[in-house]
Amino acid sequence: MAKTLYDKLWDSHVVHVEADGTALLYIDRHLVHEVTSPQAYEGLKLANRPVWRVDSVVATADHNTPTRNWDKGIEGIEDKVSRLQIETLDKNIKEFGAKVYFPFLDKRQGIVHVIGPENGATLPGMTVVCGDSHTSTHGAFAALAFGIGTSEVEHVLATQCMVMQKYKNMQIRVEGKLGLGVTAKDIALAVIGKIGTAGGTGHAIEFTGSAIRDLTMEGRMTLCNLAIEAGARTGMVACDEKTIEYCKGRMFSPTGAQWDKAVAYWRTLVSDEGAHFDTEVTLDAAEIQPQVTWGTNPQMVTTVGGKVPDPAQESDKVQREWMERALKYMNLKANTPITEISIDKVFIGACTNSRIEDIRAAAQVAKGKKVAGNVKLAMVVPGSGLVKAQAEAEGLDKILTEAGFEWREPGCSMCLGMNDDLLSPGERCASTSNRNFEGRQGPGGRTHLVSPAMAAAAAIAGHFVDVRSFS
């Protein structure tokens, strides 16, 4: 029977199935960070349980790490609670072990969803878990990857398995050519705008179509990263030559005869002709415009040429009240053109958009220009030490700092503001991150999600502007 990519990945990892379909799924790669792991390691200690397979664990500190003052070392982390969490990870990895650990200050340290792929710790055909919802990112490699909670982190550490029910198959097909200046981020936001933040609940999404095949691996990671914002725990893209080319020569990628064998297997990681999807959604790439969110949830999104919607036009009471509440929080009036919304801060970074291609896109827009006077802070936070080094080798940091952007050390930073990078109450931010929830970037902060090029253009203009007509 014809199988979807998800069916293949699922079937190749099932260890055991209960009568009601609940399965034990074997996990190949476990990415660990400081926020969701301390209670899991504590649980192991209390029950006197070892880690089942130490060499499946790849660890780094990213959520709490500062993006400045690295010269002061661990002492540079002024928040004692943050520091303790990072030190606790150091201690736990020392005690329990890992295949590799990129601690705070290491040159390969970075956002867990950036360092996995760039070190070849994420490979096609793998099952990948991490105590972070944006683990869906790794699905870009034809891997089955999903975010898990802390009890599940402990469960995987102790047993190498997840207890799961199989999800339904969903295909999101994007055919055609994207317009110039339209990116993977815009595809993802357009999809979420279409199906809603619960549209993918209970499903595993496979992104297909010519527009997806045309995306780079970085673009596919951005797309899969946002699958969770469409409600799906896992999103994926079939393996092709780009996938294989990206994996070649990375730190943990196979070599020699093993490489050839791996590649032969990876090429089978595609949905079979005629495979059944329970739900199918189709988008025309040519119709996708640069996107900007206006509300407090990623599905509250419109095009840069659009206007803030009017709740009075919404017939459903729960939805209408939700929109009214969002507009009040965002301090926006219905029918305001998006390009008339001015901003206070700009954040370019996060596991969604902090890879080399994203930094290049931002630098291309910023080159030879200056950040607008009303923008208090425009910061670029590379996803990892390797991304930072690559960007510096290309001179991108110079272009950005000359334009007035701050060039920071890698980490999750202002995507969720667990470190010092926060919005102040009432501040409005053009952000390349993934969530515009109330308070996400700081209490009372107002987030608008956009692509890196759109964020850089907003920084220069001081308000949202269509990057396609920006010069």
Binding site: Y26, N64, V81, G131, E152, G231, P443
Partner: protein, 211 residues
């Protein structure tokens, strides 16, 4: 994990769709390395008018009088009634911990986000999905009746209202078994250790580069 058999309690209505886990427990409380102590900061940005911090005492903080959980009539509620897509967003298990540690034992909504759903059941926080029409009816009843209580019987998978009406709900048999008996998931999985080892050996032979 505590056993969940039959529970009955006061209902608090949270009439908002898409309540995310950032709202349930804001990020600054995620810096804790403990599993407990999150209850006092549940919905912190909605319950209080200032910014809460992990080391800050809540006594004396300005309270938002309009927020439902700050209303006297819902004090001591153990059942939370909510709208679509409750628990969307981050995978933080601190969200169900905070709900439980505040006192909630059951959350009823038309739908829940997938990761939050798993995290909750792993901790014995029972999440019940009902058709939006039934949830609408419950919202109406709790709004009209002070001291409105609901009884949840997991064994028979029924929810009963004060007027004697009862509704059946679905739950996976395996999860039901674990919650009813307060079973340790890890212990259960480790009973299959031989199968896991056998799978691992086969997997390693087929894809040695994964090891």
């Amino acid at each position: 994990m505590e056993k969940f058999v039959r529970k009955e309690g006061l209902v608090a209505p949270l009439d908002r769709a898409n309540v995310d886990t950032d709202a349930i427990i804001p990020k600054q409380f995620l810096k804790s390395i403990k599993r407990t102590g999150f209850g006092p900061n549940l919905f912190d940005e909605w319950r209080y008018l200032d910014r809460g911090e992990p080391d800050k005492e809540n006594a004396g903080r300005p309270v938002n009088p309009d927020f439902v959980l700050n209303k006297k009539r819902f004090e001591g509620a153990t059942v939370l009634l909510a709208r679509e897509n409750f628990g969307c967003g981050s995978s933080r298990e601190h969200a169900p911990w905070a709900l439980q540690q505040f006192g909630f034992q059951t959350v009823i909504a038309p739908s829940f986000a997938d990761i939050f759903f798993n995290n909750s059941l792993k901790n014995g926080l029972l999440l019940i999905r009902f058709d939006a029409k039934i949830v609408d009816q419950l919202f109406k009843e709790v709004g009209e009746n002070e001291g409105y209580r609901l009884a949840v019987d997991l064994e028979s998978q029924t929810l009963s209202t004060p007027s004697g009406q009862s509704f059946k709900f679905d739950i996976d048999p395996f999860r039901k078994h674990c919650i009813l008996n307060g079973l340790d998931d890890i212990g259960l999985t480790l009973e299959h250790s031989d199968k896991i080892r056998a799978f691992e050996a086969k997997h390693k032979a087929a894809q040695p580069w994964l090891f």
